[in-house]
């Protein structure tokens, strides 16, 4: 079992759909501790990705990920554009020209994506950022792939860990990004970036699990 460009494209489309459905929720989360544009920015970015996928038919998983990266970088804006864009870009270069991705390749691409986000945003665990969802997700994926898990199962485990990680941001005081300007007042709210990570991974797992 492995994922070809077709499955990866389907996963990205599902991700766009989920972001669109949760747009207002993300707006609300960001309004509480940020500037309120996260939902709108992510939705705009993934709509642009869908439009690009209509125009191009990327032949490999890496090419799909690269298209997502460049489109998000150009269209999301704020910090999320460079951060999510970097994640997809690093993931794309890690998988290279491979025709299909097994669980190990998926875990490796997640790891590269997370490392990229850490390098770009300089956030550390418990800074109340998307890192708090991404790091547990990649650890879970690596463990699942190491046990010989399938792509679908590996992504499902990653998505669950991301969900738990995202929820763990609620009590945290933000130390990075716009929310950090609020100091202690940022505690008690779910981080919108971490929420987006959990939503996207759940969407990806949804598609791969159905294959």
């Amino acid at each position: 079992m492995s994922c070809t460009a077709r499955e990866v494209t389907a996963a990205v489309r599902r991700g766009a759909e989920v972001i669109s459905v949760h747009r207002d929720e993300l707006v609300e989360l960001d309004r509480a501790i940020g500037d309120g544009d996260h939902g709108e920015n992510m939705d705009r970015g993934f709509r642009a990705v869908l439009a690009q996928l209509e125009l191009a038919d990327p032949p490999t998983p890496g090419a799909v990920l690269k298209l997502v990266a460049t489109t998000l970088i150009s269209s999301v804006g704020g910090a999320s554009g460079p951060l999510f864009g970097t994640a997809f870009l690093r993931a794309a270069s890690t998988v290279g020209d491979a025709e299909s991705l097994d669980a190990t390749a998926i875990a490796a691409s997640l790891r590269a994506g997370v490392d990229g986000v850490v390098a770009r945003g300089k956030a550390e665990p418990e800074d109340k950022t998307m890192i708090d969802a991404l790091l547990p997700a990649v650890r879970a994926a690596e463990e699942s792939a190491g046990r010989g898990g399938e792509p679908g199962g590996t992504l499902a485990t990653a998505a669950e860990a991301a969900e738990v990680g995202a929820r763990s941001t609620v009590p945290l005081v933000a130390r990075k990004g716009r929310a950090s300007y609020l100091g202690d007042r940022s505690a008690g709210h779910l981080d919108p970036g971490a929420r987006s990570v959990a939503l996207l991974l759940a969407a990806f797992a949804d598609v791969e699990g159905a294959e």
């Binding site: 704020g78 910090a79 554009g81 460079p82």
Partner: protein, 239 residues
């Protein structure tokens, strides 16, 4: 051609304002604004930053300065996306001070790395007193025995006759004039002193027409460096 500059800001007006300021100080440096998100919103734009980067590069490379938060990420991404990422660098510096220092350094014909250093040192341009400056310099030489063969220290005083004193343009000319001299030059005005190559530091002295300033130089070219500064002052900083 000098190193180019790109000003990455959340605001179009802010980026253009900084570029306007640089145009006065460093007329030969190509500085490009990359501010705001189309249409007319606040934010940083990757495409616009990449375009400005291409525009600012005349072969010697480009230094990018940013205002806050995500502007740094956008600037870094634009550099990494270049065919040759070594052709540009993001300076970790306060936007206006860093841009002014970088522009003065680029105008002086310095290489990319030196221009970045000039920007990144910009925040610490002013030192409390000449004694402290000397101590700091010696501390970096914290070997077992401090070198006793220190280069001669040359000192001199002069009175500023030009109309604006050590304002932006004279300070930039001064930094430029010292390019190539192997000498540490410090300017003292009243209680304060500054590295003569730091445009911001020199401006921060607030020395005006009629003020008496002190010059202290050390290093192999100390004498010729001070002679150059005196010439510049004698010509009322007309370049």
């Amino acid at each position: 051609m000098p190193v180019g500059l790109v000003i990455v800001s959340h605001s179009d007006a802010l980026a253009r304002g900084v570029v306007e300021l640089l145009g006065q100080l460093a007329p030969d440096v190509r500085a490009e604004p990359a501010g705001g998100m189309a249409p007319g919103g606040l934010g940083t734009d990757f495409e616009a930053t990449s375009a400005a980067l291409a525009e600012a590069d005349s072969g010697a490379g480009v230094v990018l300065l940013y205002d806050l938060g995500s502007a740094r990420m956008t600037a870094e991404l634009a550099v990494e996306s270049l065919a040759d990422p070594d052709a540009a660098a993001v300076a970790e510096a306060p936007l206006v001070e860093g841009a002014v220092a970088a522009a003065a350094s680029a105008q002086g014909g310095e290489a990319l790395k030196t221009v970045v250093d000039a920007a990144e040192r910009a925040a610490g341009g002013i030192v409390e007193s000449p004694e402290q400056a000397t101590t700091a310099a010696e501390d970096t030489d914290s070997g077992t025995e401090s070198p006793t063969t220190t280069s001669p220290r040359v000192e001199q005083e002069l009175v500023l006759r030009n109309e604006v004193g050590l304002h932006a343009r004279p300070a930039a000319l001064l930094a430029r004039a010292l390019t190539g001299f192997d000498a540490e030059v410090t300017i003292t005005a009243g209680e304060n002193s500054a590295d003569a190559r730091s445009v911001l530091g020199v401006m921060g002295l607030g020395a005006r027409q009629g003020d008496r300033i002190g010059l202290q130089a050390t290093g192999p070219d100390a004498e010729s460096a001070l002679r150059r500064v005196t010439e510049l002052a004698d010509s009322d900083f007309e370049g």
